[in-house]
């Protein structure tokens, strides 16, 4: 019986891995960009399954929500904006545009060289991987030993927000920077939103409160079970994206300044708590034992809000347009 279970697990893993590689090939080399993106979303979902197999449910949640969902939505939005841009370019210069980019692949010989180089790269990396010792020297034991003083009981959250909180702080910095950078490039494109129709509208009406609830649950659960600020934030962002897609014009509803405050909130609260800890005599970001759980939750709430709004702002693809009336 045990053998059969093992063999089944093996077969499942092998199938999963082959699916991943096949999907990746379709994503990267398929002739049609729209299909590539759809395959990319499927790729992300299968990847999430792989993470479950690797007993990393936290990562699986993040991969499904961010890697597949939001990244996919970003790609699709970018593709339709590309098409809109192309239409404008065509209207300007109707004659010279016949090349849609399909002829830009390099010559056969060049491709062979790149194939050989990639294969060589893979070979070297594979050899290095196979030479690794069977036992992984990790930090599992250190994390387990210190978990009780970290303020949370989910080890991944403990690493993210306590042991290696500084990484997460810089990562919030990267998110913040991405919005600043995107806003510096361009105002958000004005896109005509088609009316959603009754089916979508009622679906969104049912789903968005549930997504809010799910985000809250993920945030709360993160302290002791898979979940946490990033997963919760991305669900929040998904709700916002859904509302945007179904025609809610949030740009008009949301004045710019409060939006900016929320964007900076996660980073600001994180830094402030770190510095306060330092000023009362601890190390930077060192939480007093009794308050560790509360402080982490406080940081996570601020981070969740910021992440959700940041990702939704990135989906809009630029800074909010100023009121034309002024």
């Amino acid at each position: 019986m045990d053998g059969a279970v093992n063999a089944a697990a093996w077969a499942f893993d092998a199938l999963l891995v082959l699916t991943l590689l096949w999907l990746a090939w379709r994503v990267l080399m398929g002739p049609d960009l729209f299909k590539s993106i759809v395959f990319f979303i499927a790729f992300g979902l299968v990847m999430a399954l792989a993470w479950v197999r690797l007993r990393a449910p936290d990562v699986a949640l993040a991969e499904a929500a961010i890697g597949a969902g939001l990244t996919g939505a970003l790609f699709l939005a970018a593709l339709s904006r590309l098409a809109a841009g192309e239409r404008i370019a065509n209207a300007k210069r109707p004659v010279e545009n016949s090349d849609t980019g399909k002829s830009t692949r390099p010559h056969r010989g060049v491709r062979m060289v790149f194939i050989a180089m990639s294969a060589l790269f893979f070979g070297g990396l594979a050899a290095a991987l196979l030479s690794l010792p069977a036992e992984a020297p990790g930090l599992t034991i250190q994390v387990a030993e210190n978990l009780s003083t970290s303020g949370v009981s989910n080890p991944v959250t403990a690493v993210l927000l306590n042991f290696r909180g500084y990484d997460t702080l810089l990562e919030m910095g990267v998110l913040f920077l991405a919005v600043v950078a995107a806003w510096s490039l361009t105002p958000a494109p004005k896109e005509p939103v088609s009316p959603p129709g009754i089916v979508l509208a009622s679906f969104v009406r049912v789903l968005s409160p549930m997504l809010l609830l799910a985000a809250g649950y993920l945030l709360w659960a993160g302290t002791h079970a898979p979940g946490g600020a990033f997963q919760a934030g991305s669900v929040l962002a998904a709700a916002a994206v859904l509302l945007l897609l179904s025609g809610k014009d949030m740009k008009a509803n949301w004045p710019e300044w409060p939006l900016r405050v929320v964007l900076g909130l996660g980073l600001g609260v994180f830094i402030a708590i770190g510095l306060v800890m330092m000023l009362i005599g601890h190390r930077f970001l060192e939480y007093p034992l009794d308050y560790a759980g509360d402080l982490i939750l406080l940081i996570e709430v601020a981070a969740t809000l910021s992440i959700g709004v940041t990702l939704a702002a990135l989906f809009l693809g630029g800074r909010p347009q100023r009121d034309e009336r002024k």
Partner: protein
């Protein structure tokens, strides 16, 4: 070879596939997608290697690193897409022009 190694090798394979696509595809959106596949590959290597000892609890540190990596990747992707659209609106095409010979 155990399952963890299988996934690690898959990660390496995804990285190499992405590398190839990055080299031969000219369309910027495809290059950005290729980066995402390569990133997934690198994360898979990181996460799978943490899992080599079969009957142990999985090491949470690489998991945290991968989550950080995923968030960094989506930030970079979002910015890259906006930049790509600006390049298109400024030059009329979503490719980079040929490098002037130097």
């Amino acid at each position: 070879m155990n399952a963890a190694m299988l996934y690690a090798l898959t990660g390496a394979g995804l990285f190499a596939l992405g590398l190839y696509a990055l080299a031969v595809q000219a369309h910027l959106l495809r290059k950005i997608i290729a980066f995402n596949v390569m990133g997934s590959g690198a994360f898979l290597v990181l996460g799978a290697l943490a899992h080599r000892a079969p009957d142990q609890v999985a090491d949470p540190v690489p998991h945290a690193m991968v989550i950080t990596g995923i968030v960094v990747a989506v930030s970079a992707t979002a910015f890259a897409l906006v930049l790509m659209l600006r390049v298109q609106s400024e030059t009329g095409q979503p490719h980079l022009p040929e490098q002037p010979s130097d």
